[in-house]
């Protein structure tokens, strides 16, 4: 009798262990597949036509023939310019919003309403943001297809991401720091400005740069706001902000790299296809750079501050 019981237990044990091994095997292969997908995607984009990047003119010439010839100089510039304006608008607002949510309104209906609003904004499809931007900024305010319309639409898309990041960063500052500040007679505003924000700075900067990567690749919100074209000629040296050929004029139409890809992905000529893949590689490299820069800057800032 005793021996049979042991026998059964062993069989069960064996089955259970086999189960464990099979599960581990399945999971390992899933992860292997996922990693294969990621690596092959990145490799595919980067190597499909990376040579385009070094072709004379691709980075230094404007697009011709509706983007199927020439280079992507203006699209590259417009992407960064859109990003810059977006950050100039969205960073202060997000910073203020996050400080309010963390420091001034810990609990209660105001916080609930504001959080819900931000959450709503974050889950909105970007096409809806684009439609709203088109209606309000391009048509009703009369900004037409312009860099500024696009930047404001991107701001709406960027704020929820930034608020969440900054909120997280501020919440990670130890409560003891706050208590110490208040105990020394500082107001909450002073404590925030002088202690909390500097303390959270590495995380905030990392978050901003990472969000910049997402803004950089966004296209759907721009189709109806900044438009699908860039002026044929731009003057980078002109600072006459009302001139349509001035590169820095925010009321001229602009086209980001991502929109450019969407515009010409279907064009069949070999030259157009080369430009599409070159643009995709360029976009990927920029996004990867944002990722790397975010990590490096975050680490540097953190080291500088802890050393002090």
């Amino acid at each position: 009798m005793a021996s049979t019981r042991i026998h059964i237990d062993e069989a069960r044990l064996g089955r259970v262990q086999r189960q464990d091994r099979i599960a581990t095997g399945v999971l390992t292969s899933i992860v292997a597949i996922v990693m294969l997908i990621v690596v092959s995607m990145v490799a595919y984009i980067l190597f499909e036509d990376i040579s385009t990047l070094f072709q004379p003119g691709f980075l230094t010439q404007p697009a011709r023939a509706n983007g199927t010839q020439g280079g992507v100089l203006y699209q590259l510039f417009d992407s960064f310019y859109l990003l810059l304006i977006t950050l100039v608008i969205s960073v202060p607002i997000s910073l203020g919003g996050a400080v309010f949510l963390v420091e001034y309104a810990p609990d209660g209906p105001i916080r609930d309403i504001a959080s819900t609003a931000i959450e709503t904004l974050s889950s909105l499809p970007s096409i809806v943001v684009g439609m709203f931007g088109f209606l309000v900024f391009s048509v009703q305010l009369g900004w037409k297809y312009s860099i500024i319309s696009g930047a404001v639409a991107l701001t709406m898309f960027n704020i929820p991401i930034l608020v969440r990041v900054i909120q997280q960063a501020l919440e990670d500052v130890p409560q003891a720091q706050r208590d110490a500040c208040l105990a020394m007679g500082l107001t909450r505003w002073e404590a925030t400005l002088h202690i909390l924000i500097p303390e959270a700075m590495p995380a905030i900067v990392t978050g901003i740069v990472l969000s910049a990567g997402r803004v950089f690749g966004e296209a759907a919100a721009l189709l109806f706001t900044s438009g699908m074209s860039s002026p044929v000629r731009l003057n980078f040296l002109s600072f006459n902000l009302s001139s349509p050929t001035c590169a820095w004029n925010v009321f001229r139409p602009g086209e980001s790299l991502a929109v450019h890809i969407y515009k010409i992905y279907g064009e069949g000529s070999p030259e157009a296809q080369q430009i599409v893949w070159g643009t995709a590689a360029l976009l990927m490299i920029c996004v990867l750079l944002f990722n790397v820069v975010a990590r490096i800057v975050g680490k540097q800032l953190a080291r500088k501050m802890t050393a002090e």
């Binding site: 999971l27 992860v31 996922v34 990621v38 595919y44 001034y104 096409i127 007679g185 991502a258 990867l288």
Partner: protein, 302 residues
Amino acid sequence: MAKQLPKRDLENVGLGVTGACVALVTLVVAALIFMVAQKGLSAFIKDDVSVVEFFTGTKWDLANTAENGLPYTGALPLIVTSFAVMVLSTLIALPIAIGSAIFAVEIQPKFGSKVFQPLIELLTGIPSVVFGLIGFHVVVGFMKSVFHVSTGLGILPGAIVLAVMILPTMTTLSVDGLRAVPDSYRQGSLALGYTRWQTIWHVVLKSAMPSLMTAIILGMTRAFGETLAVRMVIGGIEAMPTSLLSPASTITTTLTTSMAVYAEGSAQDDVLWALGLLLLGMSLIFILIIHLIGRKGAKTRG
């Protein structure tokens, strides 16, 4: 700094500045909801588009007008396609996301946090047009050669592209959810003689269920609202799809190609805004579901 503001004033300045930021954001969101709702509803109120027709009609054709003088506004094919693409992509991504999250947290935590997570985060950063571009060349080509279909454009390639796109969102959130399960649960289970797999299956996954649900819903939200990547591989035919390989058009892709084609205030334009309102409503519902899950999770835990 000759004159120092009194402390109380300083505090009020701070409250005012930060409060204004929050008020601005809230106001913009409120304005957005209001305007989209107003434009969308005017299709039914002003232009007399039938609500029933909109949700159950199967013929969508804004270029032609029916006998009642209105364009054909049956949005059911678009709604069905949107849901089909969303559900299908979630079904594809779900096992992969949760499986790799388990691997990264329970089986190889070091590898998970050092190699796997940064790699997945990289996927989050890839712009959607790039996903679309790869889908257009690789997935569509694959469809053509495997299923011998004419153009290769359709719902299935759309779902595959979306599955890869929502994978990072779902994986990252699942990883966070699994990490949040206290180690004492695992130790207790292992001490009772359960194997690692039994522990994961019966203890860890069960207690992480609310966060996993949230991960799934957020993935679905993204899949539902994604636009350009889908547009590039779905074919753009606004008719009821007959199979997974038939070309179709989602709510978002119809908006991309038809928005701004018709004059502002025309019935066609208003109906498109009604589609926008539908998207808005869906994302509000998704938020609501996430909140309900969060509340339920909090209740069962404490």
